[in-house]
C-alpha cells in the first residue's frame, strides 16, 4: 500500500467519522443532563434536508449548516416539550421523534430528490498540510472537520472544567439534589437537549451539504443510531467518542481498504455496507458485557422523568 492510498484512506476515515463525532458529542451532553433522546436519527435526517434545502436555495454551504443546526434544535425542542414539560416516556418519545423525523425528511426532500450541490473545497492549513501522509489528512480538510475538533475541546472543557458543566452533570446525576439547591433543572435539561439536537442537525447537514453532497431519501442510513451506540461505547467520555467515531469512520469506508489492498476477491457491496451495523452490535456486546461498566458510567438519572414539586 503506497503513501497516497494511505493518505486517501485517512482522509476518507476522518470525513466519515466527523458527522458521528458531532452528533454523538451533542447526544453526550444531552445524556449528561439525564435526558435520553433516542430521536437522533430523526434529528439528523431533518437536519440533513433542512441544510440541503437551504444550501440549495441560498447557494451558501454555511447557511446550510446553520439551517441544519436550527432544524435539529427545533426537533429537540419538540422532544423536550413532550418529555420535560409533559413528562412523556423518553424512550417512546425518542422513537416517535425518529420515526417522525425520517418521514418528515422524506416529505420535505421530495422536490430535491437526487439534486446535488457544488463540492465545498477543503480548507488548507499552510505548512502543516505539507507533512507527508498525515498532513493532507489532518490539515487539508473540510472546515467542519476542524470545527468538530473545536467542539470536542469545548465540550471537554465545559463538562469537566467549568462550573456550568458541573451543574449540568449534577442535574444528570441527581436532579432532585440539584433542584433543592436552587438550580433550574428543567431549564438546564431543555438547553442540553436543544444543544444535542442542534449538533445532530449539524451532523445531518454535514452529510448532505459537505460529505456527499446530494440529497437522497434515507441517506442518514442509521448514523443517528450509531451515534447513540457510540455514546454507550464511549461510556459517556468525550475522548472515547472521538476515537470510536474514527473507528466507525474507518469501517464505513471499508471498500477503500479492499481496493487499496489489491485483493482480487469479489465481495458483494452489501456485505461491506453492513459492516458498520455489525460493528455497532459487536461494540455494544463488548462494552455491555460487564453490567457495572454501564451502571457506573451512565448518568444516574438517565431516562428518568423528573418533575420538581413546586
Amino acid at each position: 500500500m503506497d503513501d497516497s492510498i494511505l493518505t486517501s484512506i485517512l482522509v476518507a476515515t476522518i470525513i466519515a467519522g466527523t458527522p458521528l463525532i458531532i452528533a454523538a458529542l451533542g447526544e453526550l451532553v444531552t445524556e449528561k443532563a439525564g435526558v435520553l433522546n433516542l430521536g437522533a436519527e430523526g434529528i439528523m435526517a431533518v437536519g440533513a434536508i433542512a441544510g440541503f434545502a437551504m444550501a440549495h436555495q441560498s447557494g451558501s454551504a454555511t447557511l446550510g449548516a446553520i439551517a441544519g443546526m436550527a432544524a435539529g434544535a427545533v426537533m429537540a425542542l419538540v422532544f423536550g416539550i413532550l418529555t420535560l414539560t409533559l413528562l412523556a416516556n423518553q424512550v417512546a418519545s425518542g422513537l416517535a421523534l425518529s420515526i417522525f423525523g425520517v418521514g418528515l425528511a422524506a416529505f420535505m426532500g421530495k422536490p430535491y430528490e437526487s439534486a446535488t450541490l457544488p463540492v465545498v473545497p477543503p480548507l488548507r492549513i499552510p505548512v502543516l498540510a505539507d507533512i507527508p501522509v498525515i498532513g493532507p489528512a489532518l490539515f487539508n480538510q473540510q472546515a467542519l472537520v476542524y470545527l468538530s475538533w473545536a467542539l470536542f475541546a469545548g465540550i471537554v472543557w465545559f463538562l469537566f472544567r467549568s462550573r456550568r458543566g458541573l451543574v449540568l452533570r449534577a442535574v444528570g446525576e441527581s436532579p432532585a439534589s440539584a433542584h433543592s439547591i436552587g438550580y433550574p433543572v428543567i431549564r438546564i435539561r431543555y438547553l442540553a437537549t436543544m444543544f444535542g439536537g442542534a449538533m445532530g442537525g449539524l451532523g445531518g447537514a454535514f452529510l448532505s451539504v459537505f460529505y456527499t453532497p446530494l440529497w437522497v431519501e434515507g441517506m442518514v442510513a442509521g448514523r443517528g443510531w450509531i451515534a447513540l451506540a457510540l455514546v454507550v461505547f464511549a461510556t459517556w467520555r468525550p475522548v472515547r467518542v472521538l476515537v470510536g467515531a474514527y473507528l466507525f469512520g474507518g469501517v464505513m469506508i471499508s471498500q477503500l481498504f479492499v481496493q487499496g489492498s489489491g485483493a482480487q476477491i469479489e465481495i458483494p457491496s452489501q456485505f461491506l455496507s453492513s459492516l458498520p451495523y455489525l460493528a455497532t452490535i459487536i461494540v455494544l456486546v463488548v462494552i455491555s458485557r460487564n453490567v457495572n461498566t454501564i451502571r457506573l458510567n451512565s448518568p444516574a438519572s438517565l431516562g428518568q422523568p423528573y418533575r420538581p414539586d413546586a
Binding site: 413528562l87 424512550v91 418521514g103 452490535i281 455494544l284 455491555s288
Partner: protein, 355 residues
C-alpha cells in the same frame, strides 16, 4: 395564570382510553393545518386524504389489506412492550420472514402440495423469530441494549434482501430488475373477496389478535410479563425469570413480524423485491402504542394507520403531494398520543397558588 400540572391521586382510566381519541382528533386538526400551509384547500385535502380511500368496496378491502401486516406486527410487539422489552427491529424481522417464507415458495417452485402455504407461514415465523433471537440472546447473555441491536439488524436485513434480489435470487428472465421470480399460484395466499386483493393473511391477523388477547389476559406467562413491565422489582421478588420475559417478548414480536412479511410477498407482491418492507415494522410501533398494547385497540389503530397509508397515496394522485406525507401524519399521531397521555396521570389546574 398559566395552567399547571397537578398529579392525580390515581391514574385516570377514562383518560387512558380518551387519550388515543384525543390524539386522533389533534392529528386530523394538524392535517388540516398542514394542507392549509401547503396551499391546498384544507377541506378538499381532508376529503381526499381521509375519505377518498373509502369510497367503494375495493377501497375498504385495500384498507383491511394494508392493516393486516400492521395488526400482526403490532400484536406481537405489544407482548414485549407490555414487559418493557423494546423490540424496535420489527422491520428487519419482517424482511427475514419475507425471505424465509418466500424462499420456501421459490425452492419448491410449482409444487401443488397443500402443505406449501402452511410451510411458508411457518418458515416466515421462524425467519422473523430467528432474527429477533439475536437481540434476545445478546440482551440476556451480554446485557446489550435490545433497542440498538434490533435496529442495527433492520439495516442488515435490508442489505441481505438487496443482495439476494440483485444476486443469487434474481429472476433470470426479469430484465435485470432486482426482484425474484413471481411465485406460482399454489404459493399465493387465497383471496377472501373476489375482485379485491384482500387475502387469507387477514384471517391470520385476526387469529393473532385473538391469540394475543388470550396470552396477555388469560395465561400465567402473560401475567408475569405484565408484572415485569409494571413493577420489575415485584417480578424479580416473585421469582419470575427476566430472561424468559425478554425471550418471549422478542420471539413473539419476531414471529408475528415474520408472518406479516411472508404475507406480503405471498399476497399483494407475489415476489420478493428490495422494497418489501414499506415501513410497516415502524408504523406498527405506533399502532401498538395508539392501540394501548391491547389487541382490540390494535385492531382499530391498524385500520387508522392503514387509512393514513392509503390517504398518502390519494394525496399523491389527486393533490400532487409526496406520498411520504403519510409518515408525517403517522409520526404526528404518536406525538399527540404521548402528549395527551400526560393527562392519564396529571390534570390541569388553572389557579396558580391555591391547592
Amino acid at each position: 395564570m398559566l395552567p399547571r400540572l397537578e398529579a392525580r391521586p390515581e391514574p385516570s382510566n377514562a383518560m387512558r382510553y380518551a387519550s388515543p381519541l384525543l390524539a386522533v382528533a389533534l392529528t386530523l386538526a394538524g392535517g388540516l393545518a398542514i394542507f392549509a400551509a401547503l396551499g391546498k384547500n384544507p377541506l378538499e385535502g381532508f376529503r381526499v386524504f381521509f375519505l377518498g380511500p373509502l369510497k367503494d368496496v375495493y377501497g375498504v378491502s385495500e384498507l383491511f389489506l394494508k392493516a393486516t401486516p400492521l395488526m400482526l406486527i403490532a400484536v406481537g410487539l405489544s407482548v414485549g412492550f407490555r414487559a418493557n422489552v423494546w423490540n424496535i427491529g420489527a422491520e428487519g424481522q419482517y424482511i427475514l420472514g419475507a425471505i424465509a417464507g418466500g424462499g420456501v415458495a421459490l425452492y419448491w417452485e410449482g409444487s401443488q402440495s397443500l402443505l406449501l402455504l402452511p410451510m411458508m407461514v411457518v418458515a416466515g415465523a421462524i425467519g422473523g423469530a430467528l432474527w429477533a433471537a439475536i437481540p434476545a440472546l445478546l440482551k440476556t447473555r451480554f446485557n446489550a441494549n435490545e433497542i440498538l441491536v434490533s435496529l442495527m439488524l433492520v439495516y442488515i436485513a435490508q442489505l441481505i434482501v438487496s443482495w439476494l434480489v440483485h444476486g443469487p435470487w434474481k429472476d433470470p428472465a426479469g430484465f435485470n430488475f432486482p426482484q425474484t421470480k413471481m411465485f406460482s399460484d399454489s404459493a399465493l395466499l387465497p383471496m377472501l373477496i373476489e375482485g379485491t386483493r384482500l387475502n387469507a393473511a387477514f384471517v391470520l391477523a385476526l387469529g393473532a389478535l385473538l391469540a394475543g388477547y388470550v396470552f396477555m389476559n388469560r395465561s400465567f406467562m402473560g401475567f408475569q410479563m405484565q408484572v415485569a413491565g409494571q413493577a420489575e422489582a415485584a417480578a424479580r421478588y416473585a421469582g419470575f425469570s427476566a430472561a424468559r420475559t425478554i425471550w418471549t417478548g422478542l420471539l413473539a414480536g419476531g414471529a408475528m413480524a415474520g408472518i406479516a412479511g411472508m404475507g406480503e410477498v405471498a399476497g399483494p407482491m407475489g415476489q420478493i423485491t428490495e422494497h418489501v418492507a414499506n415501513n410497516y415494522g415502524f408504523a406498527a410501533i405506533i399502532v401498538a402504542f395508539v392501540g394501548r398494547l391491547n389487541p382490540i385497540g390494535i385492531f382499530f389503530a391498524s385500520l387508522l394507520m392503514a387509512l393514513l397509508y392509503l390517504g398518502g397515496e390519494q394525496a399523491q394522485q389527486y393533490l400532487s403531494l409526496p406520498s411520504s406525507i403519510s409518515k408525517v401524519f403517522q409520526g404526528m399521531l404518536l406525538f399527540f398520543l404521548l402528549g395527551a397521555d400526560v393527562f392519564v396521570n396529571y390534570r390541569l389546574r388553572w389557579s396558580g397558588g391555591k391547592k
